[in-house]
C-alpha cells in the first residue's frame, strides 16, 4: 500500500486549487454556498479566495481546499502502449530482420472529424517537432487518407491494400462523439470478421491506452505522440503475433 495525496508545501497536506462557476448572483451568500460546495466535494477545509460576478445570474470562484482523500498508488493499473520507443533506424532494421518485407499502414481521421494535423504529424513525411512521420520510414508503406473519412471507407481501403495496421485519429470529443464513432468502427470490423486481421491503433488528445483497450483497439496514444512510438508498437505487436503463430 502506497497512499498518496496532493502536495502543496508539506507532504500529505492534500492541498488543491479549484475554480468554478455557480448559477447564483454574486454576494456573501454565494461565497458561503461555494465554500459548502467545496466541502461537500470531500475537502475538510475550504477557502474561497476569489469571487466575482460573471453576470447577474452567475458567479465565478477560485478556491483552495485540503483533503484527506488519497489514492493507493500500488493498486493503480495502467500501462503505456510503448515503454521505450525505438528510433526510425531501429524500426527499419527490426522490420527488415523479422518480416523481410515492407509493412503497410493506413490511417485517417474518421467520421465528421476534420482535424488532420494530428494524423499528419504521425504519418506525413515531415512529421512533427523534428520527428519524421511514417511516410519517411523506408520499410513502411504509409497511406494517409486525410480527414472526414467514413469508417467503411477506411476499412475498405485497409482490405484493398492488405494493411498490417490501421491508424485512427479522433480529435473532436464533445458529447463523446469519438467514443461512438470508434465503437462503430470496431463493430463494423467485427461484423465483417476482420477484427483480428489488423493491428488497430487510435490516437488523439483525449485518447489513452486504457480507453483504447476498453473500446477494442490494440493501443491508444495521446498528446505528444510521435511516429516512432506508433511504429514501435506496431512492429512489436506484429512480431508478437508472428511468434504466437509459430
Amino acid at each position: 500500500m502506497k497512499p498518496i495525496k496532493a502536495y502543496g508545501d508539506t507532504l500529505g497536506d492534500g492541498a488543491i486549487q479549484l475554480s468554478f462557476t455557480l448559477p447564483v448572483s454574486f454576494g456573501g451568500k454565494a461565497k458561503e454556498a461555494a465554500k459548502i460546495y467545496v466541502q461537500k466535494m470531500g475537502f475538510k477545509s475550504a477557502d474561497i479566495v476569489h469571487a466575482e460576478p460573471l453576470s447577474e445570474e452567475f458567479t465565478f470562484f477560485v478556491a483552495y481546499g485540503k483533503t484527506d482523500n488519497y489514492v493507493d498508488y500500488d493498486s493503480v493499473e495502467y500501462s503505456e502502449a510503448v515503454d521505450k520507443a525505438m528510433s526510425m533506424d531501429e524500426v527499419n532494421a527490426f522490420i527488415k530482420q523479422n518480416f523481410k518485407r515492407k509493412i503497410v499502414i493506413v490511417g485517417a481521421c474518421t467520421g465528421f472529424d476534420a482535424h488532420t494535423v494530428g494524423i499528419d504529424a504521425i504519418m506525413n513525411m515531415k512529421g512533427y517537432n523534428h520527428h519524421f512521420g511514417l511516410e519517411r520510414y523506408p520499410m513502411i508503406e504509409a497511406l494517409n487518407m486525410g480527414s472526414q473519412v467514413p469508417n467503411e471507407k477506411l476499412i475498405e481501403q485497409a482490405v484493398k491494400i492488405n494493411a498490417d495496421a490501421i491508424l485512427v485519429s479522433q480529435i473532436v470529443t464533445q458529447k463523446d462523439t469519438h467514443i461512438k464513432n470508434l465503437t462503430n468502427f470496431i463493430e463494423l470490423l467485427e461484423a465483417e470478421k476482420l477484427r483480428k486481421r489488423f493491428i488497430l491503433v487510435v490516437g488523439g488528445p483525449r485518447i489513452n491506452n486504457k480507453l483504447a483497450a476498453e473500446i477494442g483497439f490494440d493501443a491508444g496514444f495521446g498528446s505528444g505522440t510521435y511516429a516512432e512510438d506508433v511504429a514501435t508498437f506496431i512492429v512489436k505487436k506484429m512480431y508478437e503475433r508472428l511468434s504466437e503463430k509459430k
Partner: protein
Amino acid sequence: MEKKLKLSEKKIEKARTLAENITGKIQNYIDSHTTVAVERASLRLLGADGADKNGVPVPNIIADSLKDKCGFGLCKYYLNALAKTGLDVKELNEKIAEGLDISKIDMADLKSVEIKAKEEIEKLDKRLEENVSYRNKKLSEFAENEKKPWIYVIVATGNIYEDVKQAKAAASQGADIIAVIRTTAQSLLDYVPYGATTEGFGGTYATQENFKIMRKALDEVSEKEKRYIRLVNYCSGLCMPEIAAMGAMERLDMMLNDSMYGILFRDINMYRTFTDQFFSRMINARAEIIINTGEDNYLTTSDAVEKAHTVLASQFLNESFAKRAGMKEELMGLGHAFEMNPEIKSGFLMEFSQALMAREIFDKHPLKYMPPTKFMTGDIFKGYAMNTMFNFVSKATGQTIELLGMLTEAIHTPYMQDRALAIKNALYVHNNIDGFLEEIEFKKDSTIRKRAAQVLDETVQMLSSVKKIGLFKAIESGMFADVKRPPEGGKGLEGVFEKENGYYNPVEKYLKNKLGIADTAEAK
C-alpha cells in the same frame, strides 16, 4: 496612422495587381455560372422559407423539383407560382411545405413574373435598408463607448437558449462581438435546418430562427450596456449564400466568409466555392455585413514562420475577390493570426512585425486577428500567458477585431468562466498599454522591419507563381495551407450549373445594381 515599417509601396501595389489578375480569371468562370445554393439563397431573399413535416426546407423542396432548371434560374418559378395562385409568400410557402409542386404550374407571361419580382425585391430592399440603418443608428448612439480592438468571443454550447445566457454574460463582461459557432459538420449539409435548435456538437446549428433569438438577446443587452453588440455567424460550406441571405435578413453584423476556406478545410469543390463566395459577398456587401476571412487557419496546417507569406498572399486574394463583389474595404475583415510555436526565440518580434504589417498594408480594413490555438495545450496556465502576449500585439498594432484566446482552447469549447478570464486579460492589457505604438519607432535594421519586408517579398514571389499557373493549379499543388485539392474533387460540384441563355435572377440583378457591379453575364 503613421507607417512605421517603411514597406515598399511599390511592392504592395505589385501584389495587389497580381491578385487582381489572378482573381480576374476565376471571376470569368463565376460570372457564367450559378449553383443550387445561389438559387436557394435567391429564393430565400424573395421570401421562400419554412420546411415540410420531415424538416426539408422549402427552398430545397423547390430546388429538388426543378433540379435541371438551375441553369435558367429558379426564381422565375417561385414568382410565377405567386402570380398564378394569387397567394402571398407566407401562404405559398405553406402550400409548398404541404406538397404543392411549383414546377408543375404553367408559366405565366414574363411580365407578371416581373411584376411580382419587383414587389418582392422592394420588400427585400426595405428590410435590408432598415437593418442597415438600425445598426448605424445604434453604432452612432453608443459611439462614445466603443473601444478598440473590438473584443470577439465565441459561444458554442449546442443549445441556442444556453448560448443566449453565455452571450449576455460575455457582453456584460466587456465583449463587443458574439460569434455563435456552428455545430460540427454543418458546413457539409446541403440544406439549412429550420427552427430553433437545442442539440449540437462543438457548436450550435445556424438556422434563421436561432439568428433571430440571439439577435433579440443581443439587442437587449446592447441597450443595457450602451454598446452595440455585434452578432457573427459562419457563412461557409455548401450553404454559404443561404446563410448570407439569412444573416442579411436577421441583421447579423459579421460573417466568416472566406473565398477558399471551404476548399482547403472542408473539402468542398472549388468551382462551387468560388461561385458561392461571390454571391454571398454581394449579399453581405448590400447588408453592410463585415466579412471575416480565414487565413489564420493556414497556420494550423502549415508552419507559421515559414508560411507567413501565404497569409498575406491570401489576404490580397480575398481583398480582390471581395472588391469584385462590390464590397468596401471597411467591410473586409481580413484574417491573420498569432500562431508561432511559443518555444521559438524572439518569436514575439516576428508576430509583432507581421501584425503591424497587416495593419499598415490594409489600413482601412477591419482586420481580424486570431489568438494562439495550435500550440495551446492542457496547460491552461501557460496558455493564459500566451494569450497575454497575443493581447499585447493585438492592441499595440491597432487590430480592429480581436478574437480572444481561451485558456482552455485545447480542451473544450469555452465555459462561461473561460471567456470571463479572457476578457479580463484583454481589458487589462488594452488599458495598460494604451498609446504604446505612438511612443516607439523601429530601427532600420531591426528584426521587426526586416521580417515584414521579407514576408512581403515572399508574398510577391508567391503571387507571381500563382499567376503563372492559375489559382486552381495553385490550390491543387498545395500552395495554400499545405492542403492539396483537385479542381474536380470535393463536395458539391454536382450543384454547379452553367448559366443558360435567358438565365433569370432578379435578386442577382438587384444586388449588382445596388453595388454597381457590371452585369457581364447579361451583356454576353
